[in-house]
Symmetry: C2
Subunit: 194 residues, 2 copies
DNA sequence: TTTGCTTTTGAACGCTTGTTCATTAAATTG
DNA sequence: CAATTTAATGAACAAGCGTTCAAAAGCAAA
């Protein structure tokens, strides 16, 4: 046997990435073999190398795509007040992350399995995202709407708190996403106000 | 060569656990080989099996010890008000975790590398810790000191926020631990108050 | 100094790992 | 229908994996 009937790179390529995403999220990068990914796709291990130069690139591409998507979709409307921008941010962060549990899990857990160069790239993107939130906080402090001692700490505290939603939230659970957003916005709003 | 001069189980045993802790935290359970742990200790891989039945037990023991220590040291003084108890909790959580970055990292990252039974044990301990915080929140709501819509969500949000400190805090950095505690307590206090 | 216990070595076990590549067959193009 | 391109197989590679165990050697007690 060689090429199989119906095989096409436009189909197999995305399936390889989807399988890697799913399995990396479930078992961890180091614990998932190329053969396991291939089996999930329904192909032999060798065929994966038509779609990725190596296992590391597979991980890096997933993380980079996730981070650039995150940055591209982050709301940014200078006409709105700092309070409104912060509310937008909270709603966006929770919704975006709730939609992508596997990507989020990988982006947090597999940083240490990146090569040094790849890690630097992802780290820069993550920092860019944090800076966006910190800018909102600073604007709010300047306008007198927020009262926070250290914008950097509050930035990290808010992101940690919001990302924590992913450890328990499941669509169709006890609370709707809107209710979750409302409750977290309530906490964040109070925490940054005098 | 066989037994080496100066070898003693009272010395090697703790060194095995320390090496495993360090390497698991650094590289991840799946990526760390028994030979790598042995090399860190300065023995051959076979010698490790005098101290652990297998690699899985090494991980489980580290996590279980961490969680039972956490529960044993959690402050609990029924004479104090809910607000005081919450403040005690925040200070304790940040300090305890700051002292044990490797243990904390493992406890969060390596859950999926536990067997089903071992996972259940650790999960129960984690749940017990969460319940302690939730009880404080409920007492505060009952006494009218706190205003939170859903104590379970606020519990998880607070723990996520506090544990996030470990991703950036380093002893001897820009902020002292007391300053960090003070800032987080300020945020938590405001978030749970009307 | 001899005896028994403790601790480690080092080789070996079968198995899995990421990756390469000649080969083959399906799909596409002319 | 023929020629070319694309996509997959499946075997092979060297290396590493967790774990076992007989043998050896240091240590402690008699």
């Amino acid at each position: 046997m060689a090429r199989t009937t119906g095989s096409h790179s436009d189909i197999t390529g995305p399936r390889v990435r989807a399988a890697a995403l799913r399995l990396f999220a479930r078992g961890g990068y180091a614990a998932v073999s190329m053969r396991a990914i291939a089996a999930e796709v329904g192909v032999q291990a060798g065929a994966l190398y038509n779609y990725t130069p190596d296992k590391q690139s597979l991980l890096f591409d997933l993380m980079q795509t996730h981070m650039t998507d995150l940055l591209a979709e982050t709301p940014s409307d200078a006409d709105r007040t700092a309070v409104q921008q912060l509310q937008d941010f909270v709603a966006f962060h929770i919704s975006f992350h709730a939609d992508r549990p596997d990507e989020v899990f990988i982006a947090y857990m597999e940083l240490r399995n990146l090569t040094e160069e790849n890690f630097a790239v992802i780290e820069r993107l993550r920092r860019e995202y944090e800076d966006g939130l910190e800018a909102i906080l600073r604007a709010g402090v300047a306008s007198g709407d927020f009262s926070v001692a250290d914008t950097k700490i509050v930035t990290l505290a808010i992101i940690a708190m919001l990302t924590g939603v992913n450890t328990w939230y499941r669509a169709g659970g006890r609370l709707s996403l809107d209710e979750v957003v409302a409750q977290y916005w309530d906490m964040v709003r109070k925490a940054v106000t005098a």
